[in-house]
Amino acid sequence: MKLTIKYFAWVREKVGVGEEQLDVPDDVTTVGDLAAWLATRSEAHANAFARADVIRAACDQTHAPPTAPLANVSEVAFFPPVTGG
């Protein structure tokens, strides 16, 4: 499954890039699965996802919980809790 992965704020800084195009294994079916799989890709990724519990996600630009399925999704973003306003 081909996915665009985006990172923001300190997640982006820790991963070292803002965006990656990745081919994700078929057994990665949820947002939570994806975060766990990404954490295995490099030391930087592992470091970024070490605090996985505080990282939020969005599927195709809509907020999504770890249980959200990846079927038919083309863009997944990971970021800290928002701090605008």
């Binding site: 923001f8 704020a9 969005a58 907020h63 973003a77 800290p80 809790p81 928002v82 605008g84 306003g85």
Partner: protein, 154 residues
């Protein structure tokens, strides 16, 4: 029904007048302006950088605005959020609501800010006067503020 994400500053008078012109039934206009504090918890700030998620941010702001319009009788709403580098004292965010009566305008503006704070994809990084930078932590009180709106309005 306006949402803008921009680096440029905004003009509160101009935004009020834009809403005022929409209807001759408007009797109440509320604005909320959020600004970069020059000092917080005793520490001086030299600057703030606002990062956001282009595309998703605008979608979230439009969604939150639509929720407010469904919930209160509003003649108009405006949300403007700045991004990029901002100096201490600078404007960050503007919310404007216009209604026939004041309560709807006040409630809708507070609602928009509460939702924006917890769902719009912005992140603040503060630069201290000593040159160090740190991402601002989300405040638990923002989640609590949001819980106020769980029940339908009286």
């Amino acid at each position: 029904m306006t949402v803008r994400v921009q680096n440029e500053d905004f003009d509160v008078n101009a935004e009020i007048d834009a809403l005022r012109g929409l209807s001759d039934e408007i009797g109440a206009i509320v604005t909320f302006t959020g600004t970069v504090r020059g000092r917080a918890n005793g520490e001086s700030l030299s600057a703030m950088t606002l990062e956001h998620y282009p595309g998703m941010t605008e979608r979230e702001l439009a969604r939150v605005e639509a929720m407010a319009l469904e919930r209160w009788p509003l003649q108009g709403t405006t949300i403007i959020h700045r991004i990029g580098e901002l100096e201490p004292g600078a404007n960050i965010v503007l919310v404007v609501t216009a209604s026939r009566h004041r309560q709807a305008a006040f409630d809708a503006a507070a609602f928009l800010m509460d939702y924006l704070k917890t769902s719009a994809t912005f992140w603040k990084k503060e630069a201290a006067a000593d040159g160090s930078g740190s991402w601002v932590d989300a405040r638990e009180s923002d989640d609590e503020a949001l819980a106020r709106w769980a029940d339908p309005p009286a």
